[in-house]
């Protein structure tokens, strides 16, 4: 596993809210072209880990590298320096903070657990907005239409993307009025429109029936190959996870309890305990 192959490298991340350690000393890697899944029971800290990677939260301690470049780094400061309960204190000496929009610009796109589309805008506009950040324009050139070539390019790219995703016929529909499954796919399409290298999916199959889940599985594999992506996802549907993941990390109470290939993880007694609750079974 060479360094240049690593897309996302998360190192000793600890996220502490007040006295609660939501993520404890989490380290993981996503390599080029891999689909990596992060699983764990509810409240294990999976979404918190996502929010740290995408810059929504600043980690209390630890570092996140993206394509070999340090993207986020922090250490306990101020009041937190006294209250800090995690490990590796003093390993990181300086803080690097990037806001979510900068991280998206670097090439990490994400979807949300509870769909966050621009619900009053059309499907086309939803995708078009993702093109905004990379367009060469400023507020004057955009207002007075001096950027019409750039605007045309953005529109063409957005339309192409919608056509590839088979959503071209929906382009003028209001995003908020679409069926749930389509909204999920639109959210992924919108994330793809930011030209990411790494796609983070937060429970993409939540609330889907088996058929929809199967469609989604195929869809994820298809876009991964088509756009040459790495995918890092949180998911509860085990069949989906086992089918497409190259590697799996298991999180419980904020700490990593297992990692490895799907079959290794599914046979790991710790994982079975975390998921099924062995103590409960013993009582029965």
């Amino acid at each position: 596993m060479s360094e240049s192959n690593s897309v996302l490298h998360v190192e000793n991340i600890t996220m502490q809210f007040g006295g609660v350690v939501a993520v404890n000393n989490l380290s993981l890697d996503v390599n080029k072209g891999e689909i990596v899944a992060l699983i764990g029971p509810n409240g294990a800290g999976k979404t918190t880990a996502f929010n740290v990677i995408t810059g929504v939260y600043e980690p209390t301690n630890g570092r996140v590298d993206f394509c070999g470049e340090t993207m986020v780094q922090n250490y306990p400061k101020g009041k937190m320096a006294k209250e800090y309960k995690g490990e590796n204190l003093g390993l990181y000496k300086n803080a690097i903070v990037k806001s979510p929009d900068k991280i998206t610009k670097l090439g990490i796109a994400r979807t949300f657990q509870n769909i966050r589309l621009f619900s009053e805008l059309t499907v086309f506009e939803n995708v078009l907005i993702a093109k905004h950040m990379r367009a060469r324009q400023n507020i004057f050139s955009a207002t007075f239409r001096l950027n019409h070539k750039e605007e045309q390019r953005m529109r063409r790219e957005a339309m192409e993307l919608l056509e590839i995703q088979n959503m071209g016929h929906l382009k003028d529909d209001i995003a908020g009025s679409l069926p749930y499954g389509i909204q999920r796919r639109l959210e992924i399409a919108r994330a793809l429109a930011t030209d990411p290298k790494l796609l983070l999916l937060d429970e993409p199959a939540a609330g889907m029936n088996p058929q929809e889940t199967q469609d989604l599985t195929d869809f994820i594999l298809e876009i991964k190959n088509h756009y040459n992506l790495s995918v890092f996802m949180i998911e509860h549907h085990m069949d989906l996870v086992m089918q497409i993941s190259d590697r799996i990390y298991v999180l419980d109470f904020g700490s990593l309890i297992a990692q490895g290939l799907p079959e290794e993880v599914s046979n790991n007694p710790k994982v079975i305990e975390a998921y099924l609750g062995v103590t409960d079974d013993a009582e029965d």
Partner: protein, 377 residues
């Protein structure tokens, strides 16, 4: 006709819409008719007619309401600082356009002030916008980190502070302190505010339909998602605030010209609420709604509902309640009614467009239009 049928018909009519050339010609024709109509009225009606007051003030309020709508309706920033930006614009315009020969009379307590030149009107109007925009930029730096209610309170506070600062005695040589400013160039024709406000609103429309306008709407719909799409929240909010203040500043300058004098005391928070009322009645997120509501509001407050402020007799009986100030009570009832039963205002987030009218007529004369539309499919 069921809902579904309607939706299908609308979809069918979409590709059969007017082609852009026809559309723009109709728009240009309507615009020319509007301006021509105003010109004709000015030729025939006496200059003191109330209709000119309504048209002038309505046009100015349209611009200010649209500028507030850019913030409240399109970017989702609830700001109450509009009166403050108007004040900055009005004062900047007045200070830089009073002719040197009139300054001694205007600044009689301050030895004619310290500025002894006058800028041409168009330059001063743009400068008025820039000054308001500059203040907005400064306020935005700390304030835009706040959200919703806090942002509203902070901008409201700014508007009050700026009003107090302008009345500060030590600034007298520039602002004439609490005395009024007058003698600056004003407009006589109703066409002037129509053209200036029209141009400004056109620019705001262009902005809203541009890539940046889409980014603003994205921020309005969902900040977290907008940020995840690579939109820098702070920069875009700052842009929206500065643009809004720029046009509010020009609106303030126009208002000063309309009133032929300007005094800081008049730019109270009540003025912001008036404009907010217009935006809410017109529909938050609709430009044409704001414009229609502006004219309606001004017509009501200056003309149609004037009688409410005067004692009236019907057949020798005095009508109860009618006295000075009752108009405001009626306005309060109207806003309550709008907020409770008509929450989306006149237009909601829809816009009044030539395509829309065209579709409307086709719907009204459904049978014929249906057959006509068929060949296009």
């Amino acid at each position: 006709m069921t809902k579904q049928d309607k939706a299908i018909e609308q979809n069918m009519l979409k590709p059969a819409g007017l082609n852009p050339k026809v559309k723009y010609s109709i728009a240009a024709l309507l615009l020319a008719a509007l301006l021509g109509g105003i010109w004709w009225m000015e030729q025939t009606l006496p200059a003191s007619s109330i209709i000119f007051t309504v048209l002038k003030k309505g046009a100015i309020y349209s611009l200010i309401a649209v500028s507030l709508n850019l913030l409240n309706g399109f970017t989702g920033l609830f700001s109450l600082g509009q009166a403050g930006f108007m004040l900055v614009g009005a004062y900047t315009y007045a200070i830089f356009t009073i002719p040197p020969e009139s300054r001694a009379a205007v600044y009689m307590y301050y030895d004619g002030g310290i500025i002894d030149f006058a800028l041409p009107v168009p330059v001063a109007l743009i400068l008025a916008g820039c000054a308001a925009g500059f203040f907005a930029f400064l306020i935005g730096l700390p304030v835009l980190r706040l959200k919703s209610d806090y942002l509203a309170i902070a901008t409201l506070g700014f508007a009050e502070i700026i009003r107090a600062i302008i009345q500060y005695d030590k600034l007298g040589p520039i602002t004439n302190a609490s005395n009024l400013l007058r003698s600056f160039p004003v407009f006589r024709s109703t066409l002037f505010p129509f053209i200036v406000a029209g141009l400004c609103i056109a620019v705001i429309c262009l902005l809203i339909n541009s890539s940046y306008g889409r980014a603003f709407k994205a921020i309005r719909d969902d900040e977290i998602a907008a940020e995840a799409m690579g939109i820098n929240l702070f920069v875009h909010k700052e842009m929206a605030l500065v643009t809004s203040a720029f046009f509010a500043g020009i609106g303030g300058a126009l208002l000063a010209m309309f009133q032929m004098m300007v005094q800081a005391r008049a730019f109270t928070s009540a003025m912001t609420y008036e404009i907010l009322l217009i935006v809410v009645i017109g529909g938050i997120g609709s430009i044409t709604g704001s414009i229609i509501a502006s004219f309606l509001f001004i017509a009501c407050s200056e003309w149609w509902l004037r009688f409410l402020d005067e004692v009236q007799f019907i057949g020798g009986m005095q009508v109860p309640f009618l006295r000075s100030g009752f108009r405001m009570v009626v306005f309060s009832v109207i806003i309550m009614f709008v907020v409770l039963f008509y929450r989306k205002g006149i237009m909601g987030t829809k816009e009044f467009s030539i395509d829309g009218i065209y579709r409307f007529f086709r719907r009204v004369f459904g049978g014929k239009a249906g057959k006509e539309a068929a060949p296009h499919e």
